[in-house]
């Protein structure tokens, strides 16, 4: 089952001679449960693509469908609500809320939605990510790897249709990167979670089920399916 589909996705910045084509007609699909890596050098448009997939930014043209829904037909506020239900984010710089403890950070998207967290499921995630002893800690008392694991837990907590990870290991050393990625992969399999990860690191990309290569806003390799 296709969970994510883009058609002829374009994002241009500026106009006329100075037009920057950040995305220039991107088409690909992601199946349910897949772990896809999007690789490309800096400036290849991969971050822009991720932002489009997550509905953080609107494309110049083209569509993105998540779980069968064309997300850009939604209004801003609807899109935000859609995002917290269907999409989980993992950022390079973790982006945890400093005033909330680990547990509160993890359940934040659920609480924003006004729902009660599924405690059993949460405990499972926390256990899998090895955060049991840290649930009451505030983010700045955690190491980078721990923070990123919290971010992953947060992304998983709402059982989204898809997790978008933006250079999740960009701020981590290689050992920690391996750990975090391993966990990401394990959890995606365990909770049959679809993951789209962007990275410029080929080695890390190798962990994915499938690699999509982006260059100058276009898919140049890998299987677009």
């Amino acid at each position: 089952m296709t969970i994510l589909e883009t058609t002829n996705l374009k994002k241009y910045y500026g106009s006329g001679d100075t037009t920057v084509k950040a995305l220039d007609g991107v088409d690909f699909t992601v199946e349910n449960g897949e772990f896809v890596a999007i690789v490309g050098t800096s400036g290849s448009g991969k971050s822009t693509l991720l932002h489009m997939l997550g509905g953080l930014d609107r494309p110049s043209s083209g569509t993105v469908s998540v779980d069968g829904k064309q997300i850009f037909l939604l209004k801003d506020e609807e899109l935000t609500i859609f995002r917290r239900r269907k999409i989980g984010f993992v950022f390079q710089n973790y982006n945890l809320v400093p005033v909330l403890n680990v547990y509160e950070n993890i359940v934040l998207p659920i609480q924003l939605d006004g729902n009660e967290p599924d405690t059993e499921y949460l405990n499972q995630i926390i256990k899998t990510l090895g955060l049991e002893s840290k649930v009451h800690n505030l983010p700045n008392n955690l190491s980078g790897g721990q923070q990123q694991r919290v971010a992953i837990a947060r992304a998983l907590a709402a059982k989204p249709a898809i997790i978008l990870a933006d250079e999740p290991t960009g701020n981590l050393d290689s050992k920690t990167s391996q750990d975090v990625l391993g966990l990401l992969k394990v959890t995606s399999e365990k909770f049959s979670q679809t993951i789209v990860m962007i990275t410029h690191n080929e080695e890390i990309a190798q962990l994915a089920d499938r690699i999509i290569r982006l260059e100058d806003g276009k898919i140049v390799g890998g299987e677009g399916q």
């Binding site: 989980g88 403890n101 359940v107 934040l108 659920i110």
Partner: protein, 846 residues
């Protein structure tokens, strides 16, 4: 330490980063300006009031000189005038014992020669025409000329009947100039020229010590270098020149210090000093609260920049200098704005203070003294420097490595653990956000509360001003009419008694209910025997008896006497064998029992000078005995001649009238039907304006007017101050909210990306603002209550016209507005910053 020429680089850095902080600069300038406004207002008000009071007393005293040598001769004048302590000395010579023109019966006039210094000291330099030069030229004040019927034009002829050592001499003069009469100085002045003095030198020989004649005596007003220790300086001048300050010595010089300078001590008594100090501290604190906050926030925001500077080799001292330089630039802009605004605010408030002092008739003068500006600027600058000291130290102490991770909120986390699970709920999250920078939150809350507490205090004071207490001091009956002099504390006797014609007219007015005359006056003075009184060394007549005020009251005032002890038996009083002794009340209306001279039942022997002779000596010294029936309150403003005698007695009018030759009506008290009070007020107003202008009146109405203007003053001055402090508080709040939103832009973007809707974000911010104001409310209520009960209450006890009432309603009224503001400001601030897209804001961090 090696001296390096790095000033330029530092200056460059300071100026560049200064320019990068536009919104902080704007708020900081406003804050500094407002703080300066407060200082300047306080200083202007203080200086202006002292100055106005001093001016008024000087004009009453008739000179601005520090001291005066009286009745001296030319020789004595020559001896002292070059003394090194004397900065300026005026030569004023009296040219006659009196001016006998009959126009001056009611308002005396004096004939003098004043030199230029004397004219300056006496506030009587001619404003039109010129100073007298020729022998027959004179200048005079306008009211004197008006009384004489002399037109205000140079060259107008006038004739003076001079009394020179008892001899009447008529001389013709022409008018050379004039000046506006000063309403507080009730003596006419006519000045002749130096040539007149020189020509008539023969008749102007000083014979004061032989026959007390004033003709030719010199009054030398002296101005010293400053007004410190005037008594000592004056003594030194006299003794240095071989004269004595001993009254009985043959070489005695009569002298005294100008009492208007003695009253400068008023400006420096302990209470005023403490009040001033408290005011200054309050302002420094208010200023500190906001300026510190602004710089603290700004340093936190730029902490990475300072870390970077450190990394590339800027020392802590240099960073501190950068911040100080910015503070100085901001002060250079903010302080002058504040000085100007503050001066005018203060200046406009001084008349309000003056109107409620005893100097109400005087003109208000507030000169832009450099002292005000220098003082205010200095205080403001010190406040700024104190406030920027700590932020400067933080910036200077930052370690280059840490600075990169240094963001608002994770400065210092004391608690590692946070045991809660519901932090994601908006109200909780908002609360947690306020806890990020507890110090800032606390400062903002204190800053906001301060003005609320002050506001409440102001209203507590103004509401506690007790109308009944106030009125009972000034009015006893609905109306009191008397000669205008009576209200100037200058009632003498038949010559300025209340006119019978006015009493008749008043009694015929609609609504008139009852009235009664009060007789008294010092024209036919009484004296009381009192052997027990050995301490009082004044007001003793040649028989060794004490001067006493005796009043004769008709029924209404007699029945309104307030009995303190004994009995008030009107039948007994009517027999003429009994008398009531008056007891003075202190400011709080409590009888001063130790001022009682005779116990109830004791016999008092009263004398008076009965007869028509000009001098007391030529009259018969009568004796009459009374038994003291009881004590009653002397009401300064309703049943006394307002002079404050040591011995006061009250008798029924019929008895009193038998004891004096010419009973004088001191005043007439009367009551009016309630619905006719306003009409009577209007009638009296127009009657005393047009029909009998020398008569005047007081009423509950006029006292009420004074009462409300007193209340208004407290509210205006206090209100102005709490308004400015409130403005500072709100500015502080806006600044705190705005910067907290700005610094969290990226965090908000993240929150939005994980699914926080704009609505939820707004709700969170609203809660943050709400908590600020909630905390402010709680603090203001608690602190306001405590402050009111502890400090305001005891302060109220010091003022006789105030009875403390605990009130909180001014706070409660303001609170809803504050709550609305607290919710609106974050929303508006957010709307202003919410222009960038999520992606842009997310990227900013990378």
């Amino acid at each position: 330490m090696i001296k390096v020429k790095n000033q330029k680089a530092i200056r460059n850095l300071a100026d560049k980063s200064f320019r990068a902080n536009k919104s902080r600069n704007l708020i900081a300038i406003m804050a500094i300006a407002l703080t300066t406004v407060l200082f300047t207002t306080l200083f202007t008000m203080g200086m202006g009031t002292v100055e106005s009071i001093q001016q008024a007393t000087m004009r009453q005293a008739g000179s601005s000189g520090h001291a005066v040598l009286k009745y001296i001769t030319d020789q004595e004048f020559e001896d002292v005038k070059e003394h090194p302590l004397i900065k300026e000395i005026a030569y004023n010579r009296m040219l006659s014992d009196d001016v006998e023109n009959e126009e001056f019966l009611k308002r005396r006039a004096e004939f003098w020669y004043y030199d230029d210094v004397g004219l300056k000291f006496g506030f009587c330099e001619p404003t039109s025409g010129h100073k007298p030069v020729a022998e027959n030229e004179v200048i005079a004040d306008t009211k004197t000329l008006q009384l004489m019927g002399v037109p205000l034009e140079v060259g107008a002829p006038l004739t003076l009947t001079l009394n020179i050592r008892g001899e009447e001499i008529q001389r013709d003069f022409v008018l050379a100039g004039w000046w506006e009469s000063d309403p507080v100085f009730n003596i006419g002045l006519i000045f002749a020229s130096r040539s007149y003095l020189d020509i008539h030198l023969d008749e102007l020989q000083n014979t004061y010590k032989q026959d007390n004649s004033l003709t030719g005596v010199i009054k030398a007003y002296i101005m010293f270098g400053n007004s410190m220790d005037l008594e000592g300086k004056l003594t030194k001048v006299i003794t240095d020149r071989g004269y004595s300050i001993d009254e009985n010595a043959p070489n005695y010089l009569e002298h005294n210090v100008n009492w208007s300078y003695l009253s400068t001590n008023f400006g420096m008594d302990a209470g005023t000093l403490i009040a001033l100090l408290c005011g200054l501290l309050l302002i420094v604190f208010t200023g500190y609260l906001i300026i510190y906050n602004i710089f603290q926030i700004s340093v936190m925001k730029d902490i990475r920049f300072y870390g970077l500077l450190k990394t590339i080799g800027t020392t802590g001292t240099q960073i501190r200098r950068i911040i100080r330089r910015q503070a100085l630039i901001l002060s250079a802009i903010g302080i002058p704005i504040g000085l100007i605004a503050g001066f005018f605010t203060g200046k406009s408030l001084v008349p309000l203070i003056m109107n409620n002092s005893t100097y109400a008739v005087s003109a208000v003068s507030v000169s832009p003294s450099p002292l005000i500006f220098i003082g205010s600027a200095l205080f403001a600058l010190v406040t700024v420097l104190i406030s920027t000291f700590k932020p400067g130290r933080i910036a200077a102490a930052v370690s280059p490595v840490e600075a990169v991770r240094y963001t608002d909120g994770n400065t210092k986390q004391n608690s590692k653990l946070k045991k809660s699970t519901a932090g994601g709920k908006m109200p909780r999250m908002a609360l947690a956000n306020l806890g990020r920078n507890k110090r800032r939150t606390v400062l903002v809350v204190i800053s906001l509360s301060l003005s609320l507490v002050l506001l409440n205090t102001v209203f507590t004071l103004s509401q506690s001003i007790d109308m009944d207490k106030f009125l009972s001091k000034f009015v006893d009956t609905d109306f009191l009419i008397a000669h205008a002099d009576y209200f100037q504390n200058d009632f003498i006797g038949p010559e300025n008694q209340t006119s019978e014609s006015m009493i008749q007219v008043v009694e015929a007015q609609p609504g008139f209910e009852e009235g009664g005359r009060l007789y008294g006056g010092r024209e036919e003075l009484f004296a009381s025997e009192d052997e027990k009184n050995t301490t009082q060394g004044y007001n003793i007549n040649s028989y060794g008896d004490f001067m006493a005020a005796v009043y004769g009251l008709e029924d209404l005032p007699l029945h309104r006497l307030e009995l303190i002890d004994g009995v008030l038996d009107f039948a007994k009083l009517a027999t003429g064998k009994y008398i009531m002794e008056g007891v003075k009340l202190d400011d709080n209306g409590v009888p001063e029992m130790d001022s009682i001279h005779f116990a109830v039942g004791e016999t008092v022997t009263l004398h008076n000078y009965k007869g028509t002779s000009e001098t007391f000596a030529g009259r018969e010294y009568t004796t009459k005995e009374f038994i003291v029936l009881g004590h009653v309150a002397v009401k300064q403003y309703s049943n006394s001649d307002r002079c404050g005698w040591d011995y006061n007695f009250y008798l029924p009018a019929d008895i009193y009238k038998t004891m004096v030759m010419q009973p004088a009506i001191m005043s007439y008290a009367f009551n009016v039907a309630d619905d006719q009070e306003a009409a009577m007020e209007r009638f009296l107003q127009s009657y005393t304006d047009s029909m009998e202008p020398v008569m005047n009146y007081t009423s509950k109405f006029t006292s009420l007017k004074e009462f409300s203007s007193l209340q208004l003053t407290v509210v205006m001055i206090g209100g102005a101050l709490s308004f400015i402090i409130g403005l500072i508080g709100i500015l502080n709040f806006v600044n705190a909210i705005l910067t907290s939103i700005l610094t969290r832009r990226q965090e908000f973007a993240m929150l939005q990306s994980i699914g926080m809707t704009r609505k939820q974000l707004r709700r969170m911010l609203m809660f943050e603002g709400f908590y600020y104001t909630l905390a402010t409310c709680v603090l203001a209520l608690v602190f306001g209550t405590v402050f009111s009960l502890l400090i305001v209450k005891s302060f109220c006890g010091l003022l006789w016209f105030v009875s403390y009432h605990f009130i909180l309603w001014p706070l409660l009224i303001v609170l809803p507005f504050l709550l609305v503001l607290g919710v609106m400001i974050p929303l508006v601030s957010y709307a202003m910053t919410d222009k960038q897209s999520i992606v842009e804001r997310l990227r900013e961090a990378e």
